[in-house]
Amino acid sequence: MPPVEKNRMQRRDFLKISAITGASAALDACGSPDHQLIRFIPEEDLIPGVATWKPSVCTVCPAGCGLLVRVMEGDAEVVRNGQLGLMQMGLAKKLEGNPAHPINQGKLCPRGQAGLQVTYHPDRIRTPLMRSGARGSGEFKAISWDEAMKRLMAQLSSLHSGNSHGRLVFLTSSLRGQRKNIAVTFTGAFKNSQYVEFAFFDERVVRTANAASFRHDAPPTVDLSQANYIISFGANFLGTWNSPVAQSLGYGQMRQGRPGTRGKFVQFEPRISQTGANADEWFACAPGAEGLLALGIAHVLIADKLRPASSAGAAGELVEGWSGGLAEYAPEKIEAQTGVKAETITRIAHEAAAHAPAVALIGDAAAAHTNSLFNTVATNALNALLGSAGKPGGIQFGSVWNSGSGKSGVQESSGAAAVQALAAQLESDPSSVGALLIYGANPVFATPAAWRVRQSLEKAPLIASFGSFIDETSILADLILPDHSSLESWIEDTPDSGSVRTVVSVAPPAMLPLHDTRPMPDVLLDLAHELGGNLATALPWKTYDDAIQADFAALYKEKGSKDAKAADDFWSNAQQQGGWWGPEEPAAANEPGGKSTAVPVKYAPAQFDGNPGEFPFYFMPFPSQMLYDGSLAGLPWMQEAPDPMSTAMWGTWVELNPSTANKLGIKQADLVEITSQHGTLRAPTMITPGIAPDVIAMPIGQGHESFTRYASNRGANPISILAPISVAGTGALAWAATRVKISRVGEGSVILFGASLREESPDLKHR
């Protein structure tokens, strides 16, 4: 331990529930310092303390990077048996990447670094809660676990026995491994039930397209490390898209990791993203025209005899007109629609052909137009034509370990359309849903207001949430049974991109729980045993870690391992290492000359909601580097980390082109009103050269009404004003398909982190 005098706190206090009802409170910057860490010696003379490193898994985005948690002894106020007391325990101090993990190889993104603050968040729900005021009022009272379980059991047992009418609906974020298996199996044991998965960035369009083109229902694993040419349509692959740490590792290698070879990177998108900012060439293509561009490049490759059309196999055949050479996509024919010059398209096709391996990516807004299934299938065909499907330096697919049997018979649906359908059903016949369980998803925040998800949930007979925070969705719950944080839990994860090795991450808890919480899977298992019957048979495990161990026994049986003699060794090795990973084995993705039996996908122009006369601008929400889809807005490190492109902190903004601002008489940081056919919001402007004059862009993430003291009532939520239309053929929300108008309201302000080194240094007087 460091030579620090311990200042043991004597306070023994009971929790005051008012502190965790999600009310907004200003950050108190003038409280008392943390005396125990103020020292009177130079840092040089400090003796470092003793630390241990424990594996875990980052859960703040779907990439599933492996963690090493730096744990050191310390004193924490914890709740045990309803009593608050001081306990010396191992405390997570810092999250680091696990160097042995195939996806992130020791690295983390900024969001992963900040994941630590979830565990220590002052507004975490610390005990089970029961609604004590009107729905949505945020008034809850603390109850015991016994009482919480009794209340939930009462409703569930009458549904399970068929004594009461109505379905059990379980709404979760995208889950994996035994956590998902337990949730799905639990739900499926109810005769009448539905399991719904929802996450704003679920890569549903890319998955659907990959399933059609390559028979892999997964996002691609992108091998940038060996690529010599990258063509990206809107994918923010160095920021938030898919598996950003794995992709950044490959990108660094692509740029400077191979002596004498430096790959080229070209990005097409109407608003420059943090990723696009790194491109050698950036082109502002028209929103929704990405598929045309992909086929324009493909046309040149075929017409100029750089690649034969047949080499694209089934992925090519999936595009209507492929074998005919795509004459209608000739660069000069698509120039006007795409906004990219014919000669540029031709040049890029030739460069890509000459610098194999060349890879094409599509994601984010480019995959969120009404015609994005076409855009994505076209991009897949281009990859196949370039010879990059399933190949080093291209897009690859691994094989994913499937925990559990997965044959629960439950009606399983996912994506935005599933939430929309649930909302519609609740609104027309609320009693058809007997109980709604919610875990990890916040659809009230992350769906267009036009879907009326809040209003429909308000009508649900019973809502039970397993949430750790009062957010816009859990605030509607009748019961809250708070989960452990991921650092306090057993954890298993089976990511489906980021590595061509089969990855099954596993880790025991990195630290003891701070609060009176319980792991969601354990709560389900307890309920299952009490309900008995088919539930007890379907879920034989006593605890979640038993279930994970059983999964690893099955994994051992199927995959075995050279360095583990028995299942027990296999299991303990995996826990030490942070998981088990198979050999590097990319799956087959495409056969040149292969045939497709599917109906070819046809080009259709992207549809936009709102007529251009009244709503002249395309509205492009974009993922926030720090706040992601808004789920990280509650973390102070993320609020105060400057946005990479704008350096903005603690707020939101809308981006527009200088010429647009000029025309409308709008100045830097003016407050403007953005109106779609479905709503209005206000935000300050950020005038920037990296956006097309007919586009208005806005980060997703702020605009929470209720989500911790740091995020509540801060900024505006672009999702709320989106048009409720979907990407054809996928059930995904077309979140880049809304038109808006803009008008100046008055003066506003944006908080920037600037420095005098920069010319446009904002109003920083002193530092």
């Binding site: 460091p2 310092p33 400090l46 990108y251 980390a641 982190f753």
Partner: protein, 235 residues
């Protein structure tokens, strides 16, 4: 000569992701100040990523550059300090003795890189966020100047371990938090007094230059400039 710690930052790898920025907050007990103080320019980021736009739409180019204390060998922040709180360590680092600092802020004015941060208020962590604090790093009080230390606590830990094992610190053994997290491996830390260290070798690159070197500060960080693509040379 003892160790001379230095760093190389490859701007051709850096993507502006800011993993380094948040890793630094987590490692070094940098307090967030909240929106009101941030609006007054009092947010603290020992490392920041500067972003430069060049050109007008549609011919826009962007450059990112992480900026942290350059650990100058001729550090303008040192001679101006009346209490010698800002001083030069044996291993060539610019150190800051917090309890000597009386808050004149002369050093911050003297530093041309704008990397020193003053505590206008006592830092505070809403409980239990205080549990995240790294016990190896002091918390800085009101009236005290702070800045990047190259993660001195990590340097110390590695040196103590090496000494116990009767060996020298190995090249690459020390990773400041920013270097460790960086997803593109854009940053390399090492001993510049060892000509064979990775950092020394990279610093000799023809792409290398130092930030505002003309001021005579003798920074110990070398930036490798971004390259442009030359298809035929690279083919």
């Amino acid at each position: 000569m003892g160790h001379q710690w230095g760093m190389v930052i490859d701007l051709d790898r850096c993507t502006g992701c800011e993993a380094c920025v948040v890793a630094c907050h987590a490692e070094n007990n940098i307090a967030t100040v909240g929106d009101k103080q941030a609006a007054g320019g009092r947010a603290k980021h020992w490392i920041r990523v500067e972003r430069y736009y060049e050109g007008d739409f549609p011919d826009v180019k962007v450059k990112f550059m992480p900026v942290l204390c350059q650990q100058c060998d001729a550090a303008p922040c040192e001679p101006v300090c009346p209490t010698f709180a800002s001083y030069h360590t044996d291993e060539g680092l610019n150190g800051q003795i917090y309890n000597r600092c009386i808050g004149t802020r002369y050093c911050a004015n003297a530093c041309p890189y704008n990397v020193r941060f003053f505590n206008f208020y006592n830092p505070a962590w809403d409980k239990p966020l205080d549990l995240q604090l790294n016990p190896d790093v002091s918390v800085r009080e009101v009236g005290v100047m702070e800045k990047c230390t190259f993660c001195l606590q990590r340097i110390k830990a590695a040196e103590i371990e090496a000494a116990a094992e009767k060996r020298d610190v190995k090249d690459g053994e020390i990773q400041p938090a920013c270097v460790q997290s960086c997803p593109t491996n854009a940053m390399v830390f090492g001993d510049l007094s060892d000509p064979h260290s990775r950092a020394s070798r990279m610093a000799a690159s023809s792409r290398g230059n130092k930030l505002m070197e003309e001021l005579g500060t003798r920074p110990k960080i070398t930036y490798l400039q971004r390259e442009s693509w030359n298809g035929d040379e690279n083919a």
